[in-house]
């Protein structure tokens, strides 16, 4: 009998699928985070211009998105080439210039459209997942 496959307990005497389930869930989570990274970056710029390190900090503090820093900079460059963000160099007190990014008008429209899709998708998934959520809540009691 198994209560929670992710904890690696046994299922009817068979070797536990726990680690495979956990690995699969982690890989899926990575894909999910990657897929939402673009929207997260655009959303972080909604209130105004930020430079790379500030965007990373905003993502970490507001979204718990643990992103590879080596992914964010090329992604910003791509968002710029897609004309969704614009950039400008500003001198800083630290002695090195900072490259600030801001949303373009197209970037704002794109962000709003993506945000709408995200909310609709998330609402329908939450509804669909209700029985699983209840099951997990019952087991955790």
């Amino acid at each position: 009998m198994i209560e929670d496959p992710s904890r690696g307990t046994l299922l009817r005497g068979e070797p536990s699928p726990g680690s495979a389930v956990r690995d699969g869930a982690e890989k899926w989570e990575v894909q999910l985070r990657k897929g939402s990274l673009e929207l997260a970056i655009l959303a972080s710029l909604w209130d105004g211009r930020l430079y790379g390190l500030e965007i990373l900090r905003r993502l970490e503090s507001d979204s718990e998105l643990i992103v590879s820093e080596g992914t964010v900079y090329p992604l910003l460059s791509r968002l710029k080439s897609l004309k969704l963000v614009d950039s400008e160099w500003v001198e800083s007190d630290g002695g090195h210039p900072r490259k600030y990014y801001r949303l373009t008008e197209a970037g704002k429209q794109w962000s709003l459209a993506m945000s709408r899709v995200w909310h609709e998708f998330s609402a329908s998934m939450t509804k669909l997942l209700t029985p699983l959520t209840n099951e997990r809540a019952g087991k955790e009691k």
């Binding site: 990575v30 985070r33 990657k34 990274l37 673009e38 430079y51 790379g52 390190l53 992103v67 590879s68 820093e69 080596g70 992914t71 900079y73 090329p74 992604l75 460059s77 791509r78 080439s81 897609l82 800083s92 630290g94 090195h96 210039p97 900072r98 490259k99």
Partner: protein, 211 residues
Amino acid sequence: MKLASGAEILKDQTARDQRIDAYLARLRRGLAGLSAEKVLDIVVELRGHILEKSARQGHAGTKAVESILGMLGSPEELAAQYLADDLLARAEKRRSPVLLIRGLAHWASMSAAGALVLAGGLLGYFLGGSFMLAGFLKPMHPRTAGLWRLAGDVYSLRLGFGSVPAGGRELLGWWMLPMGLLLGGGLCFLTTQIVLWCVREFRRTLDVGGQ
């Protein structure tokens, strides 16, 4: 707690600067192919990131910098992400098969989808190029170049080098010339269109290879 001497701090700072310079030099080498302005833009931005992050952490030494560089990933992988997008963006604009294949090669190094599109693209251009070449070579090798049906119902596209295959029959005759050029050209055009569609999807959905 033992305090570091001025000489030790200076030595560590020199080692740190050398480490950053070495990382950025590798990145710069990886970015060959981008305009000098873009390379400078990227290098200055990342140097600022490394220096500011290490200063914010309160440790400006080699160890802190090593950890920051580790989070950025290898300079070659980082460069591949910049290059793939730049080459694909330029290929999209110019519809250039050479830029497309170069961009796809970088994309392929980052994701399975890129590898699949690269394989499809190469196959399409190889087949298209072969038909065009066979058509082009037909006047030079009128007896041997063309589409052949060999023994055992095997079809072979021959450029005309070598002898007439035993038991084979050439199917198109002189039609090989216009057909080869048209079919080959069409295949190359179709390959470019399909690959460009994949590239547009890739750039729109931002299928990045990193995590």
